[in-house]
Subunit: 217 residues, 4 copies
């Protein structure tokens, strides 16, 4: 039994070894630019071995997605569950959660965002595609959940929480891609943090239903 466990663990380690290599290579070269051979080399394995762990290039790529999405959902839900925070403070915490994920692996966030909005999802195995769809719904719901309380207690504008979630997520994705573009022009600067912070500040103010325009952070 111990042996089986160890084997299982080793197998999982190999998967991670490949995923990590893939992360580095995809981040550096993008989806089309990265070749299976590149990734295999980075993982110090043969290309054929990769196919023992992933059905094809698409699924390997998608599994990176999945990994990031899972982390993201977890972080967002953590924020939501911090019972002692006011809705407004949770939004600030949400900002941090989003930024944390970005900071941890900026290139992959960028890749993942690009992948999600692409036609390339079509080649995935149904299971994997569904898992990604599910996780995408999950983080939408998680963000929406954060706004829900504020709406319910009447301190936020009276709109569907998913609309808030769409905006926050869209804002995050857009700023990440946009700042990345600008960084392409001048790679030394990274303004995402302050820009995201300002954006969330604006939103925090903008969604207040009543009261004066004094920010509460």
């Amino acid at each position: 039994m111990g042996i089986e466990e160890r084997k299982e663990r080793e197998k999982e380690q190999r998967r991670q070894q490949i995923i990590n290599a893939a992360e580095r290579v995809f981040a550096a070269k993008g989806f089309s630019g990265a070749t299976i051979e590149n990734i295999a080399e980075e993982a110090e394995l043969s290309p054929a071995t990769l196919y023992l762990y992933f059905k094809n290039k698409d699924e390997l790529y998608a599994s990176l997605n999945l990994k990031m999405l899972k982390v993201l959902v977890e972080k967002i839900e953590d924020v939501r569950n911090r019972k002692n925070l006011s809705p407004a403070k949770k939004i600030r915490a949400l900002e941090n959660a989003l930024y944390d994920v970005y900071e941890h692996d900026p290139m992959n966030v960028i890749n993942v965002l690009r992948f999600q909005s692409s036609e390339e999802l079509k080649n995935l195995s149904p299971e994997l595609a569904n898992q990604i769809k599910d996780d995408a719904r999950k983080y939408l719901r998680a963000i929406a959940g954060i706004f829900e309380d504020g709406v319910q207690i009447g301190s936020f504008l009276d709109r569907h929480p998913v609309a808030f979630a769409d905006i926050v997520w869209g804002l995050f994705a857009g700023l990440v891609l946009w700042e990345h573009t600008k960084k392409g022009f001048d790679p030394r600067k990274d303004f995402l943090r302050p820009t995201l912070g300002f954006a969330i500040e604006i939103i925090s103010r903008g969604i207040k239903k009543n009261g004066r325009l004094n920010i509460d952070n």
Copy 2:
């Protein structure tokens, strides 16, 4: 001289013919999916001919970008120059300008956004890359300009107008990509319009420096 002019005009027409074909094909198949042959076929020309007008596939693609960016900049500057509008109303008009561009050719907006934030810019000729950078700066400045007045007369939060512009542009880009992703899950629905509207509403409220939280649209 008349002859040269005519030739010049004809040459420009051919360029447009190719760009239009490329727009349709890229929109339908994405960058990697579209082949030069596809585009040539759509343009009713031979593949070799395309290379008389564009140095390579990347530059052809980039020129679509440029075309859209020019339209965009123009529209935004139009908004800015409407002297009789209050800053707050200009922001609402900006929302319409952005949406107009999207509505006119959604797939290309999506492609262009994706292209801009990608590594693929690296293959461009320096001139073209610079032109794109310039135009990107231009529309950033244009958006910023709209906020500038509001900041100066003290009705908007006291931040650098480019920060506002980043946020608006990032929001637009993010929502386009994000809604497109969701449409991938359920292609019948297009929530971009109302979501974008709500987002601009929030921002309009959020950036007001003083005064009560009554929207001014």
Copy 3:
């Protein structure tokens, strides 16, 4: 007009150049053993060029088939149309026709026979598959035609001519493959000619309806 004709001719020549190379390579290595690169090399062209003239490996192979089948059908129909020959003599002439085709390019006859009876036909484009089916029916009918007269005038056994045709064709195919097997064991000897001759002699005798067992060759 002359130019177009020349181009057409040149194009046809390229096709032949490829087909000839393919014939040599397939003959030497069989279908699975031969690679597109081998054939391209033999044709002194690049692999990519082959794909300008043939959709894929299967179709290239199939077109060799087609070429041989056409020659075969022609020869058999020639025999049938020799109005001054008695049915019995036509069968002898048929034997020669079959052997001629084999002698001209034994390896390809062998390959073609093997291909026809294989699953690999399934990958063909419908048009090509149909053309092959049609030609196969044609040579069956052609052989059958030779027997038909003898059956009608009552000098051959009273069976459906297609049955005779099946037997002659099966015999030919079987002996070709079988002798080839034996040659594999001892490549210097080629007994096909006498064995085929004896077989046709037996059949000629065996299908006579009445009369003594004196052969009529």
Copy 4:
């Protein structure tokens, strides 16, 4: 000694288990279509295990040949040894023997015939190649033997019996492949039986040295 014997027996059983699986898989997918993994799966063993019993894929395939050839030789020799049958009747019995083998496993007869006449024999180990050659000679001799008596007692045409054997075997092989081709065109029909019957009838008549053309079946 008893233990060794048992081990030997078990080993032989494993071999059979693999051969049986291989038969099913090769029959269903052909030689190139079948993978070692397919066969291993069917045999409920791991691919690596197959290599304990067979040197490589070719040898495994060849051993199917061998199995079928052994059955065939046995059946033919049984026919030859039925002392109470006239030569002519033996030929009819030979027809049944051939058809029996085909009927028992048509796809494998087809595969084996194709294999035998191919270049693929070249990869075999010398021992196996020799065994196949030997068995091929054996069934040729066996068939020849059936004709030999008829030749000796002067009732058949005065030719070398191997020539008769070649013809019968070639006819069988050719009809099997040819009918299989036609079945490819219309998979519901199987004319092998009647066609083979008619062919043997013709041969029976055709090889009679003297006497009238009355069939003796």
